[in-house]
């Protein structure tokens, strides 16, 4: 399963990037407090992350690191933001995901930007 993920995640990522604006919840109206609860170190695959969160704001070192910019609403929770054309306006958190060679989340952090 993990080998399959390692094979298909790059293809999926390429597809997501090609789709450009494929961020499923890029709107405060789609805010969700449970949005990040599906991510578990050592279990969650890159494929699952891409399917649930869509296009990352940054891809580094091949695909070892994916980052997402998130807004946060006290009442409704997290929502995804497209990479802002200017700076960090509206960004509350930056989700950093570290994957191993098989495309499984190894470490993560939610960096508070504002």
């Amino acid at each position: 399963m993990k080998t399959m993920t390692a094979l298909f995640a790059p293809i999926l990522l390429a597809g997501v990037l090609a789709a450009g604006c494929a961020t499923p919840n890029a709107n405060p109206l789609h805010a969700d407090k449970q949005m990040l609860q599906f991510i578990e170190d050592g279990k969650t695959t890159k494929e699952t992350v891409l399917l649930k969160l869509g296009q990352p704001s940054m891809v580094l070192e091949g695909e070892k690191f994916l980052t997402y910019r998130l807004g946060y609403d006290e009442k409704h929770g997290y929502y995804l933001l497209d990479k802002a054309p200017v700076g960090w306006m509206g960004v509350k958190y930056n989700l950093v995901l570290v994957f191993d060679g098989l495309g499984v989340v190894q470490r993560r952090s939610l960096v508070e930007i504002h």
């Binding site: 690191f65 960090w88 306006m89 950093v96 993560r108 930007i113």
Partner: protein
């Protein structure tokens, strides 16, 4: 001595007030207001203690990313990350009146901060440089690029 100081401060305030009144009378007002707010488009997560923790020879690229988040700029080969943030140090409020019309605005004076982190081929921090200088907002430049001359 304290009385003299108080007296000097009072004179300074009076002079500033008179200068304001005179400039309003002349149809213009320029009022510099000291502030220290974070720039509108800037990140706020780069704290001195975080920079200190990323010691050369020990911290890895992974740790840098996990602590600071995505860089504002990076070299494709991963050898350098740059983090950028801004603080507005002064707001220059200006107003000009002429006849029945007038104009005014706020010119923010920014201090641009950069943290440049270099990595060795093994992905370990080899050098970190922090600098700050007054200048135009980097983010503002993105919104309003300088005019192109032909």
């Amino acid at each position: 001595m304290p009385l003299n100081l108080a007296s000097q401060i009072q004179r300074g305030i009076l002079a500033a007030f008179l200068a304001g009144v005179v400039s309003i009378g002349a149809g213009c007002l320029v009022l510099p207001i000291p502030t220290n707010r974070v720039g509108e488009y800037s990140r706020q997560d780069i704290k001195p203690e975080v920079i200190e923790a990323l010691a050369p020879g020990r911290a890895t690229r992974e740790e840098v990313l996990l602590r600071l988040g995505e860089p504002d700029e990076f070299r494709v080969d991963g050898s350098q990350y740059r983090y950028h943030w801004e603080r507005v140090k002064w707001d220059i409020i200006w107003f000009v009146a002429a006849g029945n019309s007038g104009a005014g605005g706020d010119i923010p004076i920014n201090k641009n901060h950069n943290l440049v982190i270099n990595f060795d081929p093994a992905g370990v921090v080899s050098e970190r440089k922090a600098n700050a200088r007054f200048g135009a907002s980097e983010h503002e430049k993105q919104i309003r690029p300088p005019p192109q001359y032909q």
